[in-house]
């Protein structure tokens, strides 16, 4: 079984992003970039499935600028076997990404695609579902456990207030939630080995996918500062305000 794992290069999760002073977007220049943390979990899960002998090959793919190859190297240092880099503008929309991935699925014929549930930059939380829709495959989002048996995947999904167990017909698309696993550290020897693993570079345009964004970003702003705190004198005043003013009780 082959597993395809799409990964995205994003501003590192430790860095608080800053809105550009002209409001045209978020400043990313000069910031540390890393693999989207949910994608790291997806890579880890795929590598574990290969280590258990369930998967035979783990192929990672990234769609974006040339520097995304660093992200692919990280994924290969974690254990992915080879990588595809599809060159495009930075941060294409999920619809375009899903279409590119559909082309790659046709080319690579994986049985399973595992992705992070969302990227921590645009927080779209859509690519996996969209890919599944385009392919006409089963989907499971927000997954915290995967077991593969008899051409089906049994998964735990995190839903409001608990867990849901589903059985998916393969091939399928699964998106990883935080609790699926703890990704491993890339060790120095594995980083050295990853330098020798192949990265195949493609162009989004050559795949015949329309990458034009459908959403125009009109402006980006920092959230407004909260209004000043109302100091209350007594518990009864607090309860009254929460009930009648804030309407949360």
């Amino acid at each position: 079984m082959k597993i395809l794992v799409p990964v995205k290069r994003v501003v590192d999760f430790n860095i608080k992003p800053r809105v550009k002073s002209d409001g045209s977007g978020v400043e990313t220049a000069g910031l540390k970039m890393s693999m989207n943390p949910f994608d790291e979990i997806a890579v880890e899960e795929a590598v574990r499935l290969r280590e258990k002998g369930i998967a035979s090959e783990v192929v990672v793919v990234s769609i974006g600028v040339q520097q995304a190859q660093e992200t692919l190297r990280t994924a290969m240092a974690m254990g992915a076997d080879r990588a595809l880099l599809v060159l495009s503008e930075e941060s294409p929309e999920p619809l375009a990404v899903a279409k590119v991935l559909m082309k790659l699925v046709e080319k690579e014929q994986p049985h399973l695609v595992i992705l992070g549930k969302q990227a921590i930059d645009d927080d779209m939380n859509a690519t996996g579902q969209m890919l599944a829709g385009l392919l006409g495959w089963a989907q499971a989002t927000f997954v915290s456990k995967i077991e593969i048996a008899e051409n089906r995947a049994r998964v735990h999904r995190e839903i409001d207030g608990g867990l849901e167990e589903l059985s998916l017909k393969l091939p399928a698309v699964i998106t990883a939630d935080l609790r699926l696993n703890e990704p491993r550290y890339a060790t120095l020897p594995n980083i050295m080995k990853a330098k020798k693993k192949p990265i195949e570079t493609l162009n989004a345009a050559d795949l015949g996918v329309d990458m034009m964004p459908r959403l125009q970003i009109l402006s980006v702003a920092e959230p407004a500062n909260k209004k000043a705190c109302v100091l209350v004198e007594s518990v009864s005043e607090l309860v009254e305000k929460l009930r009648n003013e804030a309407k949360v009780l």
Binding site: D12, I15, G30, L31, R184, P189, M192
Partner: protein, 550 residues
Amino acid sequence: MTEENINDSERESLIYDVVIVGGGPAGLAAAIRLRQLSSEISVCVIEKGSEIGAHIVSGAVIEPRALAELLPDWQKQGAPLETPVTTEEMFYLTPTGQMRIPMLDKVMPYLANHGNYVVSLGALCRWLATQAEALCVDIFPGFAGADVIIEKNRVVGIRTGDMGIGRDGKHKPDFQPGVDLRAHYTLFAEGCRGSLTKKIIAHYGLNQGADPQTYGLGIKEVWEIPAENHRPGLVQHSFGWPMDDRTYGGAWLYHFGKNLVSYGFVVGLDYTNPWLSPFEEMQRVKLHPVFRRSLERGRRIAYGARALSEGGLQCIPRLTFPGGALIGDSAGFLNVPKIKGTHTAMKSGMLAAEAVADAYATQRVEPATFTDRVRHSWLWQELHAVRNIRPAFARFGMRAGALYAALDTMVFKGRAPWTLHFRHADHETLRAASLCQKPFYPKPDGTLTFDRLSSVFLSATHHEEDQPVHLCLKSSSLWKTVNWDVFKAPETRYCPAGVYEVLDEEKAPTLHINAQNCVHCKTCDIKDPTQNITWTVPEGGNGPNYPVGM
């Protein structure tokens, strides 16, 4: 230290000819020079930051002399030296006013910045790393040197830190043992007060005969200001207020890049008043009209801090030992009066590289020619000429020190027939809290001045929480009887990241260590009065994530 006891079957090792610990200007310059000298010498650089530049903090105005020697076509290759110094001003501050020092180029010629550039040292290091990689240097960010491997009294490499150890010291499921990086030669380029450098100095007694090193703590912010207020290339420094006459320190403010301003403050860590808070000094100096002018209506976008070596020539230890050398600020090659250390760090790295290549070719264990190469270079001349200035401030105070400095410079031209020495290490200088006055620090206003925690937030520092505390307090009873009873917990004030906190002050004071806040400045390792705190490396890749601009 690890002495020939490697029997851990899990542990892997990688072998290089030269391993360099630290991806700052010294380490990267050494790596580049080594590969320029011989394409046969395999070189790797490890860096504890999550990427090259992640832990770099500097002003910085740099002199491109060493860079031009290392990479003569640096301009063509796009080195990020984009803002030439255009105007330079030095101010003596009083609480509300200032005096601009006239004839700066005569009084403080070492400060002349003609031909120098305001840069982000983090950006320069990132660029140097790409140059090094183009020469096939292996660069491994995210790996901390946790220990030195010494066999038969020769340094034969370093061991990277284990990953995935819990706070309780037990292995977590993702445990990965560190890797041994073995090498013929190991260069320590950790910057000021490197944790491995400290072990090496102690093991080989490298500081015998040298003065005790004296340090400073630099705290920096990067601001983005309105374009109409931006004067690229403006370089300002100050001394005087708010430091008293016994305390060495001053501010800088540089306009650079695209509407960016670098602002910062350095305090000599030989200060005596335990109530002094370098962080709050740096905050309040922004309120002085000289600096307020530039920062008003701007927004702060980055924050960081780092200790630096201020001792100069008298404090430089023996530079080499069997199997390696100390370079850059690990050795203390900073030129304090000049307020510059990048060119000296790079030069020392280049000279060490030459010594190592020579030792490699002649199969000698110690790259001993490094010391001679330093002595016959401009690096030595430069540091020798200013050697008396910083100790004069330490000995005579700020005003008399400044007079002495002018005398030493203008009359003796740096060739005075004597050398002033440092008498005390910085951890010995504090006076009892009860004998000292508390400075008044205004409350942060949230626009120009800020509190510690919101500042630390901007450093983007991150530490895996479930790991052993990397700031080791040897004795908590010693902390109570000395730090608390005598000095009233100076670490809560000198730490620019709010790592140290006293709990239950009234009944049973204890020291709480918020190791996750640490920005790796090393001040606690330097200033703790009984050297009771030891800074060790946390998991590789942890620590601040400084953006380009720092």
